[in-house]
Amino acid sequence: MNSIYKVLSDAIYYNLIREQRYLQFVQGLGISLQLTFYSAILGTIIGLVLALAKLGRIKFLEKFATLYVDVIRGTPVVVQLVLIYYAILGSSSLPKIVVASIAFGLNSGAYVCELIRAGIMAVDKGQMEAARSLGFSYSQSMAYIIIPQAVKNILPALVNEFIVLLKETAIAGYIALDDLTRAGNIVRGRTFDAYTPFILVAAIYLYITTILSWMLGKLERRLRESD
């Protein structure tokens, strides 16, 4: 018993308390959350614009959006991150978190585009026909009839995308951004303890994603009730 206690208290002492290493984790978490937040906002805006381009009737915009989504979804996000980091860093001195937010936002935008599109296409075809038969134009039908219904399909998928995004930002260390995962790495480098820092990191991610999932569940119930 004593020795287990000793192992645990040592692990906590070395990985969290000594040299105030807990601050590494706290700051890392802060960076990860900020990065997720900015990327989510940027991704949602880009996704909306891409979805509009895809649904709209301007051929070259539609082609561009399709190409964009294919390229983003067909390549690893790490590669995108590093490429964008060097491409932008070469010409500016933006803080790394901004660069990373742009990279993850550009990436997430492709996925958000597809889930917006799916949410709109899931609305029954008869809805558009009924609206058009009353005399509404295509865009009026979208605004009054289709989008309000699509939002109910899209919102839960969007929250889910943010959960995925939070975990994906764990690769931000590739451009030396001190996010939560990298905090684990840094502490491990000091303590030579392979397990404890990453178990802590995993526990923190799990805690946050559990909260988000719980909120997602609540949101889904609310939306179902309003039917």
């Binding site: 058009r132 038969s133 009353l134 005399g135 509404f136 134009s137 009026q140 219904q149």
Partner: protein
């Protein structure tokens, strides 16, 4: 009121309409019958350009639709449509379903539109359902709201595409009664239906569609008791 000239429509290789010609007079009630897949819906949907014909012309009050596609949104206001699947807007109350068009498209004030909606709901026999969401209505009630919604635009003609086919049998009557009342008030109507009793009683003219054309048409008495063509006789033999 409506004139259809040599209407053609294909879906890919499938030729559905192969030259439909007809005239529908003001206040006339035309019932369209025919086997499933014979192009009845396609024909009806061409009349308000929900399907775009490949060739031919449709005149509504003398206005050629194909030449006025830019004005189609305004022209569609004159043509009400009722669908087999009701297609009520589920995120809106019955009242909102009915008033959306008049308020957004006809520039009515909300209170004018609501007053009118109440009147229409009374007419279709649902005076106390205004603040209910469609999901809380039975099929027959939904379809009557859908009729009220179409009527709220003051259409000159109403198109019905199998309005009772998705209903439980005990609800068919309440919808047909509303339609009958509408016909008696002089509404011009084109009704695709399998309800032969209704067609016979309410229809001024029966249109039998087959092989992509209006195969035979005439007054109900003649079509139902003495069809000229063998195909018509065969079809009626199956459904009557």
């Amino acid at each position: 009121m409506i004139e259809v000239v040599n209407l053609h429509k294909s879906f890919g290789d499938l030729k559905v309409l192969k030259g439909v010609n007809t005239k529908i007079e003001k206040q006339e009630v035309v019932c369209v019958i025919g086997a499933s897949g014979s192009g009845k819906s396609t024909f009806l949907r061409c009349l308000n350009l929900l399907e775009e014909p490949d060739s031919g012309e449709i005149y509504i009050d003398g206005v050629p639709l194909m030449e006025h596609k830019k004005d189609i949104n305004r022209l569609r206001q004159k043509v009400g449509m009722v669908f087999q699947q009701f297609n009520l807007f589920p995120h809106m109350t019955v009242m909102e379903n009915i008033t959306l068009g008049p308020v957004k498209l006809k520039g009515m004030t909300k209170s004018q539109a609501e007053e009118k909606a109440i009147e229409l709901l009374r007419k279709v026999g649902l005076p106390d359902k205004d603040d209910v969401y469609p999901n809380h209505l039975s099929g027959g009630q939904k379809q009557r709201v859908a009729i009220a919604r179409a009527l709220a635009m003051d259409p000159e003609i109403m198109l019905f595409d199998e309005p009772t086919s998705a209903l439980d049998p005990e609800m068919v009557g309440e919808v047909l009664n509303v339609m009958k009342q509408l016909a008696n008030e002089g509404m011009t109507m084109v009704v695709v239906t399998h309800e032969m009793g209704f067609a016979r009683e309410v229809g001024d003219r029966i249109m039998f569609m087959d092989e992509g054309i209006i195969f035979e048409e005439g007054p109900p008495e003649q079509i139902f008791t003495n069809p000229r063509k063998e195909r018509t006789r065969e079809f009626l033999g199956k459904v009557l």
